[in-house]
Point group: C2
Chain length 210, copies 2
C-alpha cells in the first residue's frame, strides 16, 4: 500500500528521482545561460550534471522541453517577485520604482535565469507573429506589469498606454542589464541602476499621467 497517512514523507526512490530532476534542471540552466540553448547539447547538460545520458531522456523529451520548463518556472518566479511585496505602494512613482527594483533583485538573485529569459524572449518567433501567438509566460509577465500599474493612473486605464509602459519597462530593464553585465563591474551596476531608476521612473510617470 502506498503511503496515504504519511503526509509528505517521500520514499527514497522519489527523493532520488526529484534530486536527479533538479540536478538536470540546474545543469541545463547553467549551460543554457553560458552558451545559449541552441548551442547546448544534451551531452553538455548530462556531463555538467554528472549523470548518464539516458537519464536525461527519462525526464525530458529533448533539450527544448527542459528549456521551456525552465523559462516557465523562471518567469513564474519573476512574476511572483513582482506581485509579492509587503507595503502597498501609495502612488504611481512608488509603483514604478518598486517594479524596477523587483527586476533588479531578481537579476541579482538569479542571473542565469535572467539571461535565459532574455535569450528566450529574443528567440521567440520574432517578426510577423501576432502578439496573440507570443509565448505564454511573457504574455503573463506583461499582464502582471499592467495589473500592478493600472490602479495608480488617475484617468481610467488606457490599455494602449499600459502596453507601451510595459514595453518600456521590460525593454529598459532587460536592455540595461544586458548591456551592464558586459560593460560594467558588478558594484558599478548597482550604483548606475540606482540613479537611472529614479530618473526613468519620473519620466514614465509623466508619460502615463500626461
Amino acid at each position: 500500500m502506498t503511503n496515504e497517512s504519511t503526509q509528505n514523507t517521500k520514499t527514497r526512490s522519489q527523493k532520488r528521482s526529484t534530486k536527479t530532476r533538479l540536478q538536470l534542471e540546474k545543469a541545463a540552466l547553467d549551460v543554457f545561460s553560458e552558451i545559449g540553448v541552441d548551442a547546448a547539447t544534451v551531452d553538455d547538460i548530462t556531463t555538467r550534471a554528472d549523470l548518464g545520458k539516458g537519464t536525461f531522456y527519462r525526464y525530458f523529451k529533448d533539450k527544448y522541453e527542459i528549456a521551456t520548463k525552465l523559462v516557465d518556472d523562471i518567469t513564474e518566479q519573476l512574476i511572483s517577485q513582482l506581485s509579492s511585496y509587503d507595503k502597498t505602494p501609495k502612488n504611481l512613482c512608488q509603483t514604478l520604482e518598486y517594479l524596477l527594483d523587483a527586476h533588479y533583485r531578481f537579476y541579482l538573485n538569479n542571473r542565469e535565469g535572467f539571461i535565459l529569459l532574455f535569450q528566450g524572449r529574443v528567440m521567440a518567433k520574432l517578426e510577423r507573429e501576432s502578439a496573440a501567438q507570443m509565448e505564454e509566460p511573457y504574455q503573463k509577465y506583461l499582464e502582471e506589469i499592467a495589473k500592478l500599474v493600472s490602479p495608480h493612473t488617475s484617468s481610467p486605464v488606457d490599455s494602449v498606454k499600459i502596453r507601451r509602459l510595459a514595453c518600456a519597462v521590460a525593454g529598459f530593464v532587460f536592455g540595461f542589464f544586458s548591456f551592464a553585465i558586459i560593460a560594467m563591474e558588478p558594484n558599478e551596476i548597482e550604483v548606475s541602476m540606482e540613479s537611472l531608476r529614479r530618473v526613468f521612473v519620473q519620466s514614465l510617470s509623466g508619460f502615463l499621467e500626461r
Copy 2:
C-alpha cells in the same frame, strides 16, 4: 595584362564572384535573424541563397566567419548612421534625441541587421569576461555614443557618467525594440517610440547635468 587604365571596370568573373558573395551574405543575414546564428546551418544559408554548398566554403571558413563579417558591417553602418548628420545639435537634449532617432531609423531600414546585432551582443561571452575582451564592434559603438554626447555636457566630461549613459541608451533602444517587435504592430511602434523618446531624453539629460 590585367586592366590598369580601365578604372573600375570589373571582369564578368569578378562581378559574378561579388554577386555570389553578396547573395550569401544576404541569405545568411535573413537566416540568422530568423532562427539565430547557433541554430542556423550552412545548408540553411546556401539553400536560401540558391547556391551549392561548396560555394559557401569557397568564400567563408564557416558560419561564424560570415556571422562576424555581418556583425562588423552592420555595426559599421549603425555607427556611420550615428556620426553622419547634417545639422550640429545645439544642446544635450537635441543630441540625445538625435541619438535615439538614429537608432530608430536604423531599426526601420535594417531590421534583420538590428536583430542580428542584438542577438550577437547577448551571445558575446557574457559574464566574467572583462570589458576589454568585449567584442570590438560593440566597444566602438559604445565609444561613438560617448563621443557624440560629451561635447554637450556643461561640466568637464565625467567618464563614468558617460559610460552609464551609453549603457542606458543602448539598453533602452535595444530593449525597447526587442520587446516592441514582439508585442506591437509596426505602426504602433512608431508612435510609442515617438512619445517615449521625448520623455527618456529629458530624464537622461537631467541625469547628466545633475
